[in-house]
Amino acid sequence: MITPSRFFLFSTLLLVFLALTSLSFGAVSLSFLDVINGFFEDSEHYFTIHEYRLPRTLLAIVVGAMMALSGALVQGVIRNPLASPDVLGVSHGAGLAAVLYMTFLPDASTNWLPEVALVGGLLAAIVLWLLCGTSSSAIKLAITGVAMAALYGSAIDFVLLVKPLEVNNALLWLTGSLWGRGWPQLTSLLPWLLLIPLGLGLAKHLNLIDLGDDSAVCLGTKPNIIRLISLATAVGLTASCVAICGPIGFLGLIAPHLTRRLIGGRHQVLLPATLFVGALLLVIADLVARTINPPIELPAGLMTAIIGAPYFLWLLFSLR
């Protein structure tokens, strides 16, 4: 455990350092001077820096932070550190919508993919809400979400098998990647950033819910309303990110988890801190994905999974 002030100082520095690293490394490595020059239109590296790496790095920071916050909210509501935005079925719903779009309208423009995926993700959340209503216990909601996700998942597999033409494109999308995402995607994500302060504002109430519903009610909180708002925020955050980058799965699970181990479980600190951890993780994942075997680009979602696997193992050993 480290103190919050140290944590924020350290992680801000680290984030700045990693962002700069991410700007200067890639399939083509550039010097620090080239990076600075790259911000100006007359530089020969203008495209690489300003049009390509900068928006991509910013996108990694934003998406990482949003996914992590979404995960922290879900874990706070379900009160289980193994929960993740995945248990809401949002990413699978978005995935199913995207796959249906890609396979049944192969000639339609892929530019509409984010909108289609967004609608799919939100629809999945509405279905879950219709199934569970407000009265279900959190854990039942989570498991219903898991079951829905399983349903969407099998539907995705089914479609990919029946219409095998676009398997690779669809798989690439389904693994989550920052390849080819730039300023337009970053701009379209901006309005969703409003959800971040909303999520952070829920911290106090989530702490009260942690004490148990009865105590929470005594202390003047309405647990069901808080749960609904938190989950709706998480859905919004996840759906908007998934729509842009595809489901970058593990981030929402690992980032809050890691944060909790670093600075503890109080939501007032946990929620803002997890923004940093999420951003750091995705910037690292994308940097590694771009530089490990250039010019081949690996999906960032794959890198988060590879980071996630040893983290889980380490957790197991530390819990013994």
């Binding site: 199934l131 898991v146 079951a147 597999d157 098998l161």
Partner: protein, 333 residues
């Protein structure tokens, strides 16, 4: 109907005859090369070497059918053991990560070293499934809160997601093998042959036999772990032994035909509705039901977009998932 609920013999007879009918239908229905119902029988009784339809029945359909029966019985039994062992109605190979782990094991072996033979892929499936299950059990028991059942399922989901992400990665990295791994993940009996059947047979028969053998102990588990221990059951050895059984059953069938989703979740529940909670009675029923379900879905999968085969596993998953949702909503967790 009432009689059927009470008489165990009647249930078994009915299921056996259902299986026989399904088996017969599966021998001739929706065949790319026409096979008549009589051909199907004649090929078994009096094989005519010159007839293509007889060859199709004997060389393709019969091993496919027998493999299907073994796989259905294995998965249903594995699900039943897992549910008894964890005392969790949602436990099954697909929910608790065994399937995803095995898939990862197989995908790793078949994309990185595709030249290794059948034995090593099934071994990889077992190792992968075993590791995944171990992780799920450890993670699930490590965190309190959120109810006994939910905890394990969440751990299973987390591990499954991890394995699935890594499997997808393998597929993307080895683009040429992509469609092969995808097809394998979907699970289809189309690849079954006599070779596959004979490889699967000994392991499965022995495991199924042991599964029936340990069913009295599983009965005791339903009283709770503490009570079972007081009645003289060795928790460690039972858990270890039945875990090995589950891995042999699941790993073997995965290696043979790929992943067949939700049989392990679905069948034990139906079997329990029919024959009650006594594992000695309900294991055989589950095996028969599992075999029937897989044969039925194989027949349907061939008919959907005839003459193209839709993998039976994908079909099962599609129908199994709503049942999973139903189970979750019915149970108070």
């Amino acid at each position: 109907m009432q009689y059927l609920k009470q008489s165990y013999t009647a249930q078994c007879t009915l299921l056996c005859s259902l299986l026989l009918v399904l088996a017969w239908v599966s021998l001739f229905a929706w065949s790319a090369v026409p096979v008549t119902p009589t051909d199907a029988l004649m090929a078994l009784i009096n094989m005519d070497d010159d007839k293509i339809s007889h060859h199709i029945v004997w060389d393709i359909r019969v091993p496919r059918l027998l493999t299907g029966i073994l796989v259905g019985a294995s998965l249903a039994t594995a699900g039943a053991i897992m549910q008894a062992l964890t005392q969790n109605p949602l436990a099954s190979p697909s929910v608790l990560g065994v399937k995803a782990g095995a898939a990862l094991g197989m995908a790793t072996v078949s994309t990185i070293t595709p030249w290794l033979g059948l034995f090593s892929t099934s071994a990889a499936a077992m190792v992968g499934g075993g590791v995944a299950w171990l992780l799920v059990m450890l993670l699930g028991s490590a965190w309190k809160g959120g109810g006994e059942h939910g905890r394990l399922v969440l751990a299973g989901v987390a591990i499954s997601a991890l394995c699935a992400a890594l499997t997808k990665a393998m597929v993307i990295l080895a683009e040429d093998q992509a469609s092969a791994v995808m097809a394998w993940l979907a699970g289809s009996l189309a690849g079954a042959s006599w070779d596959v059947f004979y490889t699967l047979l000994p392991v499965t028969i022995i495991s199924l036999f042991f599964a029936v053998l340990i069913s009295p102990i599983l009965n005791l588990f339903q009283l709770g772990e503490d009570n079972a221990q007081n009645l003289g059951v060795s928790l460690l050895w039972t858990k270890l032994g039945s875990s090995v059984l589950v891995l042999l059953l699941v790993g073997g069938s995965l290696a043979a035909v790929g992943s067949m989703g939700f049989i392990g979740l679905l069948i034990p529940h139906i079997a329990r509705m029919l024959s009650g909670y006594d594992h000695r009675k309900f294991m055989p029923i589950a095996m028969l039901l599992g075999a029937c379900l897989i044969i039925a879905s194989d027949i349907i999968s061939r008919s959907i977009i005839f003459p193209i085969e839709t993998p039976a596993g994908a079909l099962l998953a599609l129908f199994g998932a709503p049942f999973f949702i139903y189970l979750v909503r019915k149970r108070t967790l």
